[in-house]
């Protein structure tokens, strides 16, 4: 069983598969992004309270979602790599970190831009914002640890442990707005009853979220492929690949 998975997840097969997937997801990302941007900026209505400023939601909310999602992917892939020693998972975890850090930074920056006109402050020390900031530090720490350990396998495994220690922050970020009475508004889309956002705004929001997701998948695959080539540069399949290209 495990051998089958290992076979499927062999660097060579993964490389070949990821070539195709990058194209699909890259193309999907572009289409969704264009649709989302037009939908968000042109077709969606202004908010009854916030007016046009609400449009930053189409950038802010998906990046905040992705910041959590990427961390879970990173910790999950790292753990799988740690337990079953699957190299691809290590590579995916490592490639996710800079992307997750970027999403987190984007969420914090756009949130700050949104907060100034709406709340009246660039930054407040409430639970949601603080825990999101800690998430950024966790990503940066993970990246720093990766670059400090020379052996890539050891780096990946050490990173997995760090990511697992930090994963306690994820539920705190998600539930912070419910557990503490914070300035940040509560969840809108994931509420169990109908989402309290108008359908004309929800559609561009979801389009943008899908675009972000496709971007993440294609970007992480691209990074992982480069990483994998460097890691496996002494192996037979990379030799064959280079031979084919140069012919």
């Amino acid at each position: 069983m495990l051998r089958h998975i290992n076979q499927f997840a062999s660097p060579k097969n993964f490389y070949a598969l990821s070539c195709k997937l990058v194209h699909y997801f890259g193309g999907a990302c572009l289409l969704l992004f264009v649709a989302g941007v037009f939908g968000g900026l042109l077709f969606s209505p202004p908010d009854y309270q916030q007016g046009e400023s609400v449009r930053i939601i189409y950038v802010h909310v998906p990046s905040a979602w992705m910041s959590l999602f990427v961390y879970i992917v990173m910790a999950g892939a790292g753990t799988i790599g740690l337990i079953w020693r699957i190299k691809i998972m290590d590579v995916i975890a490592r490639s996710s970190a800079p992307l997750g850090a970027s999403f987190t930074f984007l969420a914090l920056a756009t949130g700050s831009l949104w907060g100034k006109p709406m709340w009246g402050a660039w930054w407040v020390w409430d639970a949601r914002l603080t825990s999101e900031l800690i998430l950024l530090f966790l990503y940066l720490g993970y990246i720093a640890l990766q670059s400090a350990i020379e052996d890539p396998r050891m780096a990946a495994r050490a990173g997995a442990i760090l990511a697992l220690i930090g994963i306690i922050n994820i539920p705190i970020i998600h539930f912070s707005v419910e557990w503490w009475s914070t300035l940040h508004q509560g969840p809108t889309v994931s509420k169990l009853d109908a989402p309290s956002i108008h359908i004309d705004m929800l559609i561009p929001l979801l389009l943008m979220a899908l675009a972000y997701m496709c971007y993440f998948i294609s970007a992480v695959l691209m990074r992982a492929r480069c990483d994998l080539l460097a890691l496996e540069r002494n192996s037979a399949w990379v030799g064959e690949l280079i031979g084919e290209r140069s012919r």
Binding site: E150, D151, P152, R153, A230, R233, N234
Partner: protein, 209 residues
């Protein structure tokens, strides 16, 4: 599998990679009860890495180590009870005395309680300095303190990394005698050393990396 061969310790097609560098591959051997393996090779050929794989500290990139017919990773905790590893570093604290160091070592390993610590130190010619902090001893004496762990353990497999460095002639003979006695009682030893070993009545295998 185990019934057919009497191999106690068996390494199968081990491969070791450090960073992106291949250290060795396709390394294998079999040791039967009472046999000793000497490993030799140039610097950087992965002798220490191999020992660390054999004692379960590190995991091989590929291949397996079997103890009594079962992979050591099946039950590492059980396996390490049978192993006495004396690595490149002595594993003794310079602030403590040889005796205190042995007290800690004994409580960590499956030790032979009847064999008193002072006897072990006496056998290594260390009884005069049993109460002097290790930092005041010479490096050869430190090595002797580390090697006296061999006397108090009941481990069946000794894994020794350059045991003779900094030892004088007397010390070398002492340790070789210990290894020979251990092997004649049916124990095993894997030793990294450049020196030629003189172990009477013991089957000595050699592996060059």
């Amino acid at each position: 599998m185990y019934e057919n061969t009497s191999a106690v310790l068996e390494a199968v097609r081990l491969k070791c990679v450090r960073g992106e560098r291949l250290i060795f591959e396709n390394v294998g051997f079999q040791l039967c009860s009472g046999e000793v393996l000497q490993i030799d090779g140039p610097n950087g050929s992965g002798k220490t890495s191999l020992l660390r794989i054999l004692c379960g500290l590190a995991v091989a990139e590929e291949g397996e180590v079997n103890w009594k017919g079962r992979s050591i990773n099946d039950d590492l905790a059980e396996y390490v009870r049978e192993v006495n590893y004396i690595g490149h570093n002595n594993g003794i604290k310079s602030e403590l005395t040889p005796l205190e160091n042995l007290v800690v070592a004994r409580s960590l390993m499956s030790s032979n309680r009847e064999f008193s610590l002072m006897e072990a130190l006496a056998q290594m010619n260390l009884s005069d300095i049993a109460d002097i902090p290790v930092r005041k001893l010479s490096s050869g004496q430190c090595r002797r303190v580390a090697l006296s762990r061999l006397l108090i353990s009941q481990a069946r497999l000794w894994i020794l990394d350059e045991p003779f460095t900094t030892l004088d002639d007397n010390g070398r003979h002492l340790v070789q005698d210990l290894i020979a006695t251990h092997a004649r009682k049916g124990g095993n030893a894997v030793i990294v050393t450049h020196e030629s070993l003189n172990l009477p009545e013991v089957i000595l295998n050699k592996l060059t990396l």
